[in-house]
Structure formats: structure tokens, C-alpha cells
Symmetry: C2
């Protein structure tokens, strides 16, 4: 009973064959046939020794680690937005193809870019730029999911134009004409969704002949200040927020200021994630299937890995955003006595 990990050699010795044979039997090689007796001995020996292949040795020989790296910003919390669902979709597809998924927690690492040899990578929101450069330099194929950086094999993005259009359309149908927008916080401004949502907002408002209250183009800061300017003074009857944390903040401020939703204003937020469906009132939200985005991205990466000679980019894939109507939106003045 040694303390060392058993190797192929140990299994081979115990079953009276060579390591090569053991390897072939254990890997179920198609081109290889072994007698039932030998196969049985090998399997029994492997089982009794508790043999498991050394993946470092396997990677070295195969020149491929079967690991996909997933990178995101040191500041981005997994919990925020749809990152978690993205991860689930990604893992689901990659695991099915025998890849391991290495979700990289690089935060504290200063200069040393972790240089594990990934067969490929998936970039989520705001990956460190040194990481992107490194992937380019090593020619590791990668796709971006919910992000747009570097020379990705493909990018999978949420269709924010569709989402914003649905939000404005919904408010217009309810009869709203004066709308306020709580833009992203200052720390988010580089993400593609910030510009796309804002641009589409401006377009759609114009198209429907609605009015946009001042303050839509500055980063969100304080819920109280926002509501004072937008609802109390600006007379907005509806508010769209860039994301769900902002919506929660505004909801809290609204109660503190004795504003009721949807009586005093309707509220729509982007991101249909915890806790928007549980809040008082449950919020109408623009959501996207993070799982599908993740699956799509992972699938595109697999395609490239399976045919490395390809050099064309699969380009930009958009995943539809849906409007989920809940109780935070209603016609202006709804429920007033």
C-alpha cells in the first residue's frame, strides 16, 4: 500500500502486459483488439490500484490540455447580471465535448498573466487587456460572450437594440409620453450595451414622438437625486434603468420619497435576474437567456477547435432580448384616487 499514485506501469506489471496495451485498453482504442482475458485482467488491475491517468502527462503528449479558460474582469462579480447563466451555458456545451472549463479568478495577480495552456478561451465582460493580448500572441482561439474585444473567433451579444425598442414600445402602448432613463453607473461605461441601449432609446423616443427627460446621458449616481429630477420635477411617468441594481436602488429611494410604483411612475429594468421578480412590486424587465448566449458561444468555439484551419470569423451573433411584463408598469396615474 504505497502512498504514490499508481501509473500505467503499475497497472501493466500487475496485469502482466506492457503499458502500451494498458493504455490502449483503458482508452478503448477502436483499432485495437485485446483478448477478453487480458482486457479483464487490465480492468481489474486498474480498478484495484485505483488507477487514474496523469493528465499532465497526457496533455504533454497530446499537445492539448482539453481545457478552456473563461475570463472576466477582476471587478465584475459573477453574481452580477447574467454572468452566472453564461457560465452554465458554456459549461454545459463544453463538458459535453470532453473539455474542462477553467473559470479563471485572476483578481489579485498583478503582472503574471497566468499562462496555462488553454486550448481555447471564452471572454466575458471586460477581461484584463493583458489577457486578451496574450491570447492573441499565443494564437489561442477565443470567442467573446456579452463582450466585444480583441480578435475573437466570434462574438455573442445580447440584442440590446431589440430590448430597448421593446421597452419603449411597451411604455408607449401603456400611454406614457414622458420617459426618464437611468443610465449605467460610471464604472460600466465601456461596455457595448451602454452605448447601444442609449442610442436606441434616443432613436425610439424620437420615432414614437415621446419626450425624454434630461439626465439620461449622465452616469447614474443617486436614486434620490434621480427621482427628484426625473419624476418630481421632470414629470416623467416612466423610468427605464440600465440594469437591475440601479432599479433596486431607485425602488428603495422611491419608497423613501413616498413615491409608489406604478402609481407615481412605471419602472422597467434591464436584466431579468434575482431579485427583480420578487420585489415589491415585481419589476417589468428586459431579459435575455444567458444560458443560450453561453451555449452559442461555446458552440462557436468548438467549431473552431474542430477545424483549426478556418480563419474567417463567424462574426457577431445576437441573442434576442425579451420583455417580461410584471406589475411595475401600468398606464400613467394607474390606481390614483
Amino acid at each position: 500500500m504505497s502512498k504514490e499514485r499508481p501509473t500505467l506501469h503499475d497497472v501493466a506489471r500487475l496485469s502482466g502486459v506492457t503499458p502500451a496495451t494498458v493504455s490502449r485498453v483503458l482508452n478503448k482504442k477502436k483499432k485495437f483488439s485485446a483478448s477478453e482475458a487480458v482486457r479483464g485482467r487490465i480492468l481489474a488491475a486498474a480498478e484495484s490500484l485505483g488507477y487514474a491517468p496523469d493528465l499532465a502527462a497526457r496533455s504533454l503528449h497530446r499537445q492539448s490540455s482539453q481545457i478552456i479558460g473563461v475570463f472576466t474582469s477582476p471587478q465584475t462579480h459573477v453574481a452580477e447580471g447574467i454572468n452566472e447563466m453564461l457560465l452554465e451555458g458554456i459549461a454545459e456545451v463544453l463538458h459535453a465535448s470532453e473539455y474542462d472549463v477553467f473559470f479563471n479568478l485572476t483578481m489579485a495577480r498583478r503582472h503574471a498573466v497566468p499562462f496555462w495552456r488553454f486550448d481555447g478561451a471564452i471572454l466575458l465582460q471586460s477581461p484584463p487587456s493583458e489577457m486578451v493580448d496574450e491570447l492573441d500572441r499565443r494564437r489561442v482561439p477565443y470567442v467573446c460572450v456579452n463582450e466585444r474585444v480583441g480578435k475573437a473567433v466570434a462574438q455573442v451579444l445580447a440584442d440590446d437594440r431589440m430590448g430597448m425598442r421593446k421597452a419603449v414600445e411597451h411604455l408607449h402602448q401603456l400611454g406614457h409620453r414622458r420617459i426618464a432613463y437611468a443610465n449605467a453607473r460610471a464604472t460600466y461605461l465601456t461596455h457595448y450595451s451602454v452605448a447601444e441601449r442609449h442610442e436606441t432609446l434616443l432613436e425610439t423616443i424620437r420615432e414614437f414622438g415621446m419626450e425624454l427627460i434630461q439626465g439620461h446621458d449622465v452616469p447614474f449616481c443617486s436614486g434620490t437625486d434621480f427621482l427628484r429630477g426625473a419624476v418630481k420635477m421632470g414629470k416623467a411617468t416612466a423610468v427605464i434603468t440600465y440594469d437591475h441594481p440601479i432599479a433596486v436602488t431607485i425602488l428603495g429611494s422611491a419608497y423613501a420619497m413616498d413615491l409608489r410604483i406604478p402609481r407615481d411612475f412605471s419602472l422597467i429594468c434591464f436584466n431579468d435576474v434575482f431579485p427583480v421578480s420578487l420585489l415589491p412590486p415585481p419589476l417589468t424587465a428586459i431579459g435575455v437567456s444567458g444560458r443560450e448566449m453561453g451555449r452559442t458561444g461555446a458552440g462557436l468555439l468548438l467549431n473552431r477547435l474542430n477545424s483549426p484551419e478556418t480563419t474567417t470569423s463567424a462574426g457577431e451573433i445576437r441573442v434576442a432580448e425579451e420583455l417580461v411584463v410584471r406589475r411595475s408598469t401600468a398606464p400613467p396615474g394607474f390606481g390614483e384616487q
Copy 2:
């Protein structure tokens, strides 16, 4: 300009020395001295080729992967509770010691336990039991953080007894005498915190001579039902919830039933995480530093890795839970006209 990754041999050829010398220079071996000229040539060659070591080869030779696996339940969302903060603390400490952290997304994988050779592991909430068995079988040292399973080198747990005591004490000081408890949902019942919180609740209530409303011992299900039984019929003046999603649900139900917090009842929840501080009203909560729990666990694992001969368990470490008072708790009847 070949497409292949450069190896030590390439760097050696370009700088006119042997691979061994390159390895020693690049790894800054203390015992080894190279002339400035050679050192310079090697560094320049490595830089110009974009050399990076093959970690599979390195792992193979060193018999150590410098990878720590982190495992949790396929069902547990990273976003839930303090898992994310745990990860941050874990990564912070392990990265500082040159370990990579492999957060394992094992969900979809049916039978095949991913058998990467980890130097060690950290188990978060409800890791798959096959994984725990496998770690035991391979004698990979691991610690549990916010969980208690297997034969861990150590366990780092939140001091839930302290937390519950603080919650009840706080309510008692405010003058509450009739308290209701929204227990965990049915899917959580195996976690150590469920029993500890409930037991301590019973103890403390008795100790302070308070009354506990019926329903504290069944899994939480519906916010409306709970409030009807506990507050409307049971006349509880304060509610403690097992976790923050339950608190959010109850908050939503309360508004729907026209109950106001803290006027009609006070509310305390466990887990001081998003969005409890932003809700209307911000919730009084029992929190624990996930970061510290993570750091502690990672530190204990490192100790073991650095002195593998140790066989004693570091046992159970408890991290203090703190009460954060916000506006959801007040004396009974507070603000009534």
C-alpha cells in the same frame, strides 16, 4: 515564423546555449550563476520568440500541478449567498502563493468525475459526493469552507449560533416578544446552518422568555401564507428569515398584503448581500465576511500543502457573524398613528 509554440530548445538554439541553461536562467535559480552576456542573450531570445513554458511538461516533471480545485454543488448558484465572496478570498490567498484556482463547473457531467490532478481542493456548499470520495481516494488534501463533509484537513464555518443569538438579542432589546422564523426552503435542509440556526433560535427564545410563532420548523414555501400565519394570525411582531431570497420574497408579499415594515413587523435576514441593503426598507441583516472565510480556508490548505507529513486536522474554525442594523427593525408598532 512558424505557427508552433516555441520551446526551451528554440530559445536555447537562438541564444547559443543548452536548454538546461535557459531553464535555469528563466527560473532565476538561486544556486546558478550565468554570465551577464549569456543571461542577456537568453532573455532577449525568449522575449523575441514569445516563449512561455509548457505547463503540462512542467507539471509532469514537478509532479505537481499548482492547481487547486474549488467544488460546489451543481445546483448551487455562485451568486447565492456568500459564495462569490468566498471565491474572492480563496483566490486572493492562493494566487499569492503561485497556485492557480480552478473553479469547477461540473454540472452537466454525469458519471465522469473530472480527474484532473489537483494539488489540493476547497469544497464549498454541497459538493457532489462522488467528488468527495474521489478526493479521499486519491488522498488529495482539501478543506471545507461553509460546509462540512468528508475527511477535510479543516473546516471553516460561519458562526451561526453567534449570528442567531445576536438577531434574537437585538429584537428582544427593541421590545419584541413574539417572533416568527421563516426557515430554509426544502432544497436547503441538509446544510449545517439550517440546524444550527434553528437550534439556537429555540434556545435563545427560551432564554429570553420570548414566544416563537408556529411554523418555524417547516420549510419556507409561500410568503403570503407565511405572513398570514405568522403576522396576521400569529401576531408576531418580528420575523427572522433563514436567508436573503426568503426575506425578499416576504418583503414583496408584505407589500402586496398591505403590511408595512417595520410598522407592522420587523424583519431580519441572514446574509448581508445584494440586494438587502438597497431594499425598501434596507434590511437589518446578519452577515459574515465571506472573504475572510475564504482566506482562512485557503490559508489552512496552504499550510497542509507546505507540510504534507501532518496528519492532524486543524479542526473547525468559526468566523464571527455580525449584526448590521438597518431600517427594517424597530420597536413593535413603530410609526403607527
